[in-house]
């Protein structure tokens, strides 16, 4: 397959007949956001990913599933800059991202959560989310130290106290202060959005498991990603919590984020995604709408071989 081609053509070609429905469903949202283009990844003699090829379109919820050791997380890590593919490319908004440093990838607009929760354990929930918000802030170290960069505040940003108000009118307010306030406000909003605002000031380590999972999502959302990747967000959840999570994932999409979900739990994946890519032994074995994938004999075989995961 040639390296460069028109994006639309790629979509049409790759989404051959069997996922036409999905294409129609997300057609309005349109263009390709991320392309995994014939990616192969080898570790020594082990082939972790073999010529994997799919794309994520703006505004959809894509599920990436497969039995244990199918290469889901490896694929994910390649997309977020942890591994560099041996062969093939990964393009985000048409730009190659393979080999880019993780923090740069985040700045490009990809955020992720971790399968085994990795919060900053001694920071409060709010601070955890604020670290995410900081990714979009512009204040430099010198800006923090000397606060010389002043911004003329809008009416609602002016302090209530009379003296300070006139001071702020004359000298402006430092960008650092404004960003800090905005970050705090936005972080609270995000905590409310994922439903854990009641314990915002508690240290992350002391939060209950379900809260920690949601906090990770809030932290990832705080970096204002175009694409948010959730690595087994439902691991360890009971059915009621899974139901909640499905609602949350849909609301995230409604905010305008594109969502990639890696999951074991078939019910959750089938219930929430627009399209599904199935991996087995590092190879893509199926792609299509949830209904198609659920009917696909290869997928059924793969999951029958791994009864734990079908549960």
């Amino acid at each position: 397959m040639p390296e460069h081609k028109i994006e639309g053509a790629e979509v049409l070609k790759d989404t051959s007949d069997h996922d036409a429905i999905a294409h129609e469903a997300s057609g309005a949202m349109g263009d390709v956001l991320l392309e995994v283009d014939h990616v192969t990844l080898r570790f020594g003699g082990v082939v972790a990913l073999n010529d994997v090829n799919f794309e994520i379109r703006r505004g959809e919820i894509l599920g990436l599933i497969g039995p244990n050791g199918a290469g889901k997380t490896t694929c994910f890590n390649a997309m977020t800059g942890v591994y560099t593919p041996t062969d093939g490319t990964i393009r985000f908004k048409g730009k190659e991202i393979a080999g880019t440093k993780p923090h740069r990838i985040n700045h490009l607009g990809i955020a992720r959560t971790f399968q085994n929760i990795r919060l900053f354990p001694e920071m409060s929930a709010l601070e955890n989310v604020m670290v995410g918000c900081d990714a979009r802030h512009k204040t430099s170290v010198l800006g923090v130290l000397f606060r010389a960069y002043r911004v003329r505040p809008s009416e609602e940003e002016l302090p209530a106290n009379g003296i300070r108000r006139s001071f702020a009118k004359v000298f402006g307010i430092s960008r650092h202060t404004l960003e800090e306030r905005a970050g705090r406000r936005r972080s609270m909003e995000l905590l409310r959005f994922v439903g854990i605002a009641d314990r915002a000031h508690e240290v992350a380590r002391n939060l209950p498991y379900g809260y920690q999972r949601r906090l990770e999502i809030a932290r990832a959302l705080a970096t204002e990603p175009e694409l948010i990747c959730l690595d087994e967000p439902a691991a360890g959840f009971n059915p009621a919590e899974k139901e909640d999570l499905m609602g949350l994932i849909r609301r995230i999409r409604d905010l305008g984020h594109t969502v990639l979900v890696i999951e074991h739990d078939m019910k959750l994946v089938l219930g929430v995604t627009d399209r599904i890519v199935v991996l087995e032994f590092g190879q893509k074995i199926a792609e299509g709408t949830p209904e198609e994938v659920a009917r696909n004999p290869k997928v059924i075989a793969a999951y029958l071989g791994e009864p734990d995961d079908a549960a």
């Binding site: 955020a111 920071m123 204040t139 932290r219």
Partner: protein, 379 residues
């Protein structure tokens, strides 16, 4: 068990301070600062017993206070590196030396560098770079050294960084000793300039006799540095450092440029160290390589970790204790390295979070202890 109750007691004092109304905290802070400025004249019994010049052989009280504050400045700077960013810098004395040598090399009319400039540009024998200009030079030199040293080494594992910085500290000292025609070699440099000021009683304002003026100058700088350091701590920069310390990979995925922030910490620490060295060299009016032995590096690290790394108040306490006690008990000076080696081991083994710990650090260490205990119970 006593450790836990200790750290909880520590937390309570901190919490009470945090919960106090803002005006109480401001007044309290002002009182502490006012008392600090008054300290050189403290001569009311029984408080006067803290003075170091009670007997004729004791060291000059104001000079001791000055040294304490200079070491506090250095410790606050090193705390940015160790306490905030979690990097072990064992060559901090190198930056301190660079600061002192910058002011000596450029500010002293008898330094080889200035003499070369004099003959190159046909200037008078009296000419030297003015003191005020030496400040940016000193900061720039130590900052540049920090960046040059940090850029290649900060990507290394933490314990490698410790060794490389240790080597750096020694390289600076040995170079200063060996390069006779640039640094004056082992003989050092005299006539280091002092800050400008009005003449009082026929002497310059900052002279060798009125040490309390030096102390006040250093105190003002210390207050400024502490103010700036706490600004950093409670900002996106402080959060980024904490995030890197807790989970560097997760921080990177959240968009925190780990290397950049670590380098900043290193550079900030270096320039503060340079500033402290500048004050020291200027007060001494004499700079020589033996003033910058490696032991001083260990002393700085000890101040930070014994006080409680990450907590500025703790670091100030650590710097105070480790500078004041040896001066107060000067007759035991020979025992000083032994005592602080012993103190390092004892404090770290019994109270790894330091005497006045940062609440966050204390919690981190408490956590790890539980994990270790659980792991031991499992095995």
């Amino acid at each position: 068990m006593s450790q836990i109750s200790d750290s909880i007691r520590g937390l309570q004092i901190g919490n009470r301070w945090d919960r106090a109304p803002k005006w109480v905290r401001s007044v309290g802070l002002l009182l502490v600062i006012a008392f600090a400025f008054y300290l050189p004249f403290l001569n009311v019994l029984p408080f006067a017993y803290i003075r170091t010049d009670l007997n004729p052989t004791g060291s000059d009280w104001a000079s001791v206070l000055f040294l304490i504050v200079v070491y506090m400045i250095a410790a606050v700077g090193l705390n940015v590196v160790i306490g905030f960013a979690g990097l072990l810098d064992l060559g901090y004395v190198g930056f301190y030396a660079l600061g002192a040598y910058s002011v000596a090399l450029f500010g002293s009319p008898s330094s080889p560098v200035v003499e070369a400039l004099q003959s190159r540009f046909g200037l008078s024998d009296e000419w030297a770079v003015p003191f005020v200009m030496c400040i940016p030079i000193a900061i720039a030199m130590s900052l540049t050294a920090g960046v040059i040293l940090g850029a290649p080494t900060l990507r290394l594992r933490g314990d490698y960084l410790a060794i490389v910085t240790l080597g750096f500290g020694e390289i600076i000292r040995i170079t200063a000793r060996n390069l006779d025609n640039v640094t004056g070699g082992a003989a050092g440099i005299t006539q280091v300039p002092v800050p400008p000021g009005p003449e009082v009683d026929g002497r310059s304002f900052f002279n060798t006799i009125d040490a309390e003026r030096w102390y006040w100058l250093a105190l003002v700088i210390l207050i400024l540095i502490v103010f700036l350091a706490s600004r950093l701590e409670h900002s996106r920069v402080g959060r980024a450092w904490l995030a890197i310390r807790e989970d560097e990979d997760a921080a990177a995925v959240m968009g925190v440029a780990g290397f950049k922030f670590k380098l900043w910490a290193f550079a900030i620490g270096a320039s503060v160290g340079g500033l402290a060295g500048l004050l020291f060299g200027s007060k001494q009016q004499y700079v020589e390589p033996n003033a910058f032995m490696l032991n001083l590096s260990f002393l700085f690290v000890a101040m930070v970790v014994i006080g409680g790394s990450g907590n500025i108040v703790g670091v100030l306490v650590g710097a105070f204790l480790l500078t004041y006690l040896p001066e107060r008990f000067r007759e035991l000076q020979e025992w000083r390295p032994f005592a602080f080696g012993l103190a390092l081991v004892l404090v770290m083994v019994l109270r790894p979070q330091g005497l006045v710990p940062s609440r966050r650090r204390a919690a981190e260490i408490e956590d790890r202890r539980h994990e270790a205990e659980e792991a031991a119970a499992d095995a």
